[in-house]
Assembly symmetry: C2
Homo-oligomer: 510 residues x 2
């Protein structure tokens, strides 16, 4: 039943096979560059090219029109740090220990140094590597968890969420519109770090994007001049609360602060594309865009939009974990839309394959998606598993997708998903076990509105057995790493440009 | 406040002004052809190019990629007949009398003959006119309300909804999958009419699309050969319940019966485009696509999808009345997306303007949108008004959109919108008056989740006054026509190929 259906999956695109094959072979001769763009709390329905009626995302829409747009692409966690850990390692957060929840400015833990990131996969191949933006995989004592310790030659950014500090005195929009809301006021003001040194504290949001663009432009230009292959990782902060945007984007969209913030990120993407063109490397660069988790609906119209999907951030419904994703590589990736299932987990193996780099000798959860990208082929991925924000061996998976079917063994709302009319989304929807699981056909019913009736349906009973088996097999393969987040926090670890100042946190200003 | 914001509205597109201007002038010299495609119960979120993850709509996506895609396009009623009346006359259904609800096979009334349709606007200009598909503006005694009495030279189709007859014995998908559900069993079986004569009863759904395609191809080819300008109106049935599809589309999509039905309609659109190309008239033809009302959510995964919008068919929320819309005219309309407000009401004035035809000497509610289409300009439309399925002078408008704001004076759910988790949508959400009205910023909050707090906001209080004034002005201008639907039904008027047979309705089979 699944296989015949899967056989019908196909690309909606225009073919130019020979050119494509030719160019791809050329590219293998000289290792391709990679630009990995990662949005924050951006929902499935937030981009113009994913149907949002008032978002202005001309550059992302251009990437989608000239590249491959995914309809069934998943992150691995409905919150930030674990999702980022999976993206960079190709492994579920449960293995690397980035659970439960997220890291804080003073967290003792971080992404363990023995985990291998995409940057570390590429370094032995001679790649230049840089990260700009939101790290959120730990700072630690003496910056031991910063990007520079995880394979990145350079870093410019805020090492965690930019709401992790007091907001009240910060300007989020010009001329002097203060950041909206209270953020986490108990920690030091938000720092901007260059490599391992605090450059500015608190950060100046109005000028942040220019600094990022300059840094990225310089990195690409320098690498291209040296003919050194490069990997640029840009996880943006913009669409996370509190939204911000500088002079060039503020007030320029129809959608208010969220739209302006998204537009500024989109502008930067446009600038990066221009730099790739100017330096003549566009046809040898894979640009990949996706997001870390679903929209933070609790922020009302300042949160994102899951489009037709159910709930958002913090939940294991589709709205929490299905994301926009675009792969752009002129001459190698044909324009089109793919309905193949794929995940942030698959980016590391794909990049390794394209660069001819060795995979880390660990249990990887990602699969190579080169075949989807370059040959419009099938996904090697048959399942996607859904852990909650606080994975626990006692409960195991909350949900599992097998082919077009998704089974929910547990459901639960989340604070982050409050405020929509769907009563399954907010935190008041407490943990509920489902036996048999709720099963949805995500292709006929992407909104997870209509659980399939199982009684008297031998086909679905057989499917249920397959799902249960897949779940058992996956869970048997899962060894939970030591929780890095349970190591707790220490205020002394909060990054402060003036470490001896008193009284913290307010005195950390430079 | 509105005007400065409106000033920021703009097109996301690529410019080629001179070519565009040149071609447009050329076109004015020889009157353009018009192909008007009208989907049935298709929601804002149902097409691939509007973000649906599993719909396969390659031809509509191609129209969108090469044409102008609207994000803020409205029909005038959340149900079928009134919406169609407005489309064809450029006037609200309240003027023409197509309310409350919809027409039935035996309805005594229909679109009054003194109403001027688009076909009648074009006839004096020498246009050939044809309609295929779903009419639903009345049959009446001796077919007095059929398309052939309303300016169409030719008609092939089912004159009302194809669920208005018994479904049980009909085949909706090959090889012999019976139509799903019960439909309206008390009336005659569904007829296929050629002009004013019943050609088949009950209709053969599996072969219907081929018949339509042949008819349309012949019409376009003949007109093009004669160098006669033409107007083809194709209101499809497919995505209305019960869905159906023939051999070429059944089982070919990811989305099940709804997806297959949509895919068959999309295939036909592809065939029509091919015919336009073959006959060499593509660059002199405006193809316009939209839908009559929002998705019929009560059909579960066999209903459509409103994407990020609230509720669906039968309601005056955005999901009930905001629709996908695409204008395609290579060389004249630049590819892009427009956020300008427009409506089915505007199609008649626009077509009249493009054809150089005279407008009917009546109170028109539509405005010419040539400026939006051809010059990427501003909409002349500042408001959109929302009548319920049963407009009534006592209640007046249920809602009004002014600029980016929408005010709900009354809200109510609908049977057609049942089954989603939003408790405002189903019929159990009874009529509720709002004073002050619920006001939403549709650009920041297209999902109508977050009514704006009015207290202590002088800007919004001023806006509210403007909205109330616009409502008063509109209502003062509205003269309700005699209700055609309240004239009731007469079983003898139901179209029967064998009028004297006994017992009706089951004996009407030929």
């Amino acid at each position: 039943m699944l296989s015949s259906h899967a056989g019908r999956r196909r690309m909606d695109n225009i073919g130019f096979f020979f050119l494509n094959t030719f160019l791809f072979c050329t590219c293998l001769a000289s290792p391709p560059n990679f630009v990995l763009l990662f949005a924050d709390d951006l929902g499935f329905g937030d981009l113009g090219c994913y149907g949002h009626p008032s978002s202005l995302t001309p550059n992302l829409d251009r990437l989608a029109a000239g590249g491959l747009r995914f309809t069934d692409f998943y992150c691995t966690s409905p919150v930030c740090s674990p999702s980022r850990a999976s993206l960079l390692t190709g492994r579920y957060q449960t293995r690397s220990g980035i659970y439960p929840g997220v890291l804080y400015p003073g967290s003792r833990g971080g992404l363990p140094l023995n985990e291998t990131t995409i940057a570390e996969v590429l370094k032995p191949m001679g790649y230049a590597t840089a990260a700009i933006g939101k790290w959120h995989l730990g700072v630690g004592a003496n910056g031991m968890f910063l990007p520079t310790r995880q394979g990145f030659d350079q870093y410019l950014g805020i090492p965690y969420s930019h709401d992790m500090g007091p907001c009240w005195n910060l300007t989020c929009f010009p001329p002097d519109v203060k950041c909206f809301g209270l953020c986490d006021v108990g920690t030091v003001t938000v720092p901007l770090m260059l490599n391992e040194v605090i450059k500015q504290q608190p950060v100046n949001f109005l000028d942040l994007e220019r600094a990022y663009t300059d840094f990225a432009t310089n990195f690409i230009t320098t690498s291209a001049k040296k003919k050194q292959p490069f990997f640029l990782y840009y996880p943006s902060h913009h669409t996370h609360y509190p939204q911000y945007a500088g002079q060039g984007a503020a007030g320029r969209t129809l959608r208010g602060p969220f739209g302006d913030a998204l537009f500024e990120f989109d502008n930067t993407i446009g600038n990066l594309l221009t730099t790739l063109e100017k330096t003549g490397v566009t046809n040898n660069t894979l640009v990949f865009f996706t997001s870390d988790n679903g929209p933070e609906l609790m922020r009302l119209s300042r949160g994102g939009n899951a489009g037709p999907l159910k709930c958002g951030k913090g939940t294991t419904y589709e709205g929490g974990m299905r994301e926009p994703a675009i792969a752009f590589w002129p001459g190698t990736i044909r324009p089109g839309v793919t309905h193949e299932m794929a995940s942030t987990l698959d980016i590391l193996p794909t990049i390794a394959s394209l660069a001819g780099a060795k995979l880390p000798q660990v249990m990887l959860d990602g699969v190579d998606m080169t075949e989807i990208l370059v040959n419009q082929g099938k996904s090697k991925r048959e399942t996607m598993v859904f852990y909650p924000t606080d994975p626990d061996e006692k409960y195991g998976l909350f949900a599992l997708r097998l082919g077009k079917y998704k089974a929910h063994f547990y459901t639960r709302g989340a604070t982050h998903s409050g405020t929509t009319p769907d009563q399954d989304c907010p935190v008041f929807a407490v943990l509920k076990a489902h036996d048999p699981p709720l099963i949805f056909d995500l292709e006929a019913d992407p909104s997870e509105h209509y659980p399939l009736p199982l009684t008297g349906k031998p086909d679905l009973q057989a499917l249920l057995e397959r799902i249960k088996k897949a779940k058992e097999q996956f869970e048997a393969s899962m060894v939970f790493g030591e929780s890095q987040i349970s190591k707790g926090t220490d205020p002394d670890l909060e990054p402060c440009c003036n470490p001896q100042c008193i009284p913290k946190p307010s005195c950390c200003k430079c």
